[in-house]
């Protein structure tokens, strides 16, 4: 990959924009199209592009598999935690109405947190699967071999 300078320069330009767009899709999901699933895959796609262009070792430095696998569980636990928070605050499981003073803000908060959990799980799962596949490669393939 060392000689692909156009690829590397354009990837460097694109990756921050893709990450920013993922965050936009995540946090603007209540108002525009999008949500946790979409934001998660876009975020992961940006980091996978980084790994493709700059190599797996670089991606490992940014997102170590040890941390990524933990984030997979943390995202889901955020979701379940929101569910139990509803129980603790006197509602039903996954009842967002009781999370805040008024039902409407409670719903906002609940959806925000739940989508955040989904986004974290989806992004880290994609990254973990990619890292597992990529680390199986024993040697670098020459361009002509494809």
């Amino acid at each position: 990959m060392k000689h692909h300078i156009i690829l590397r320069v354009s990837a460097k330009l694109l990756i921050p924009l893709i990450l920013l767009f993922a965050l936009y899709v995540q946090f603007h999901g209540d108002y525009g199209p999008g949500g946790g699933f979409q934001a998660g895959v876009i975020f992961a796609a940006a980091l996978i592009l980084y790994g493709l262009v700059f190599g797996l070792a670089e991606l490992r430095r940014v997102a170590p598999l040890r941390i990524v696998t933990k984030l997979m569980a943390i995202g889901w636990l955020i979701y379940i935690g929101v569910g139990y928070a509803g129980l603790v605050l006197g509602g039903k499981f996954l009842d967002y109405n009781v999370l805040s003073d008024t039902p409407m803000t409670g719903q906002h908060l609940g959806i925000f947190l739940v989508e955040l959990g989904v986004g974290i799980t989806v992004a880290s799962t994609m990254l973990a699967i990619y890292q597992c596949f990529a680390s199986l490669q024993s040697r670098e393939l020459a361009d002509e071999e494809w």
Binding site: G34, G35, G83, H108, I111, T121, T125
Partner: protein, 167 residues
């Protein structure tokens, strides 16, 4: 054209192009959420994973052994059954189709009055159907955990190094 190809690299690339075209199709159907996912997963991440798998095997598919008539018959029959199944469906976009009568009107009004967010899809996904989404996230987590466990088990060197770190 894809099924006639024997070069798997070309197959992966054409599938990726197909996914991207499907994403465009979803946009024209006003399903931008689905289009995001299709473009990012179908055209992007899946292609990368396929290529990663391809790098571990050979690039060309082996010529099939034996007859291909039986799979052809099975697939034709299945396609006929599926096409027959669509006969009873209401016409596309019909306003009084059953799917638009059941809970959809309540969701569409409720997203504004009960939940207060303009994106009905998010409201349904995260609030009305929150329990389903909890399960879906669990499925994704389980799939990821399965892949990590399976593929890292084949890498004894790293595991040894990790256990060495822990000691």
């Amino acid at each position: 054209m894809i099924i006639r190809l024997r070069n798997l690299f070309a197959v992966v690339m054409l599938s990726s192009v197909f996914s991207l075209l499907s994403a465009g199709l979803f946009v024209t159907l006003d399903a931008v959420d689905v289009a995001f996912t299709e473009a990012a997963v179908g055209a992007g991440v899946t292609t990368v994973l396929f290529l990663g798998a391809l790098a571990l095997t050979s690039t060309n598919e082996k010529p099939p052994s034996g007859h291909q008539i039986i799979p052809m018959l099975v697939m034709t029959g299945l396609a006929a059954i599926l096409a027959y199944g669509t006969m009873d469906m209401p016409p596309f976009g019909q306003a009084d189709a059953p799917i638009h009568q059941h809970v959809a009107p309540e969701y569409i009004t409720g997203a504004r009055t009960q939940i207060g967010i303009p994106n009905v899809v998010s409201a349904v996904l995260a609030s009305y159907r929150g329990f389903d989404t909890l399960g879906e996230t669990g499925v994704i987590f389980t799939a990821g955990a399965g892949v990590v466990l399976l593929l890292r088990a084949g890498l004894p060197s790293r595991r040894r190094r990790k256990s060495g770190d822990a000691e």
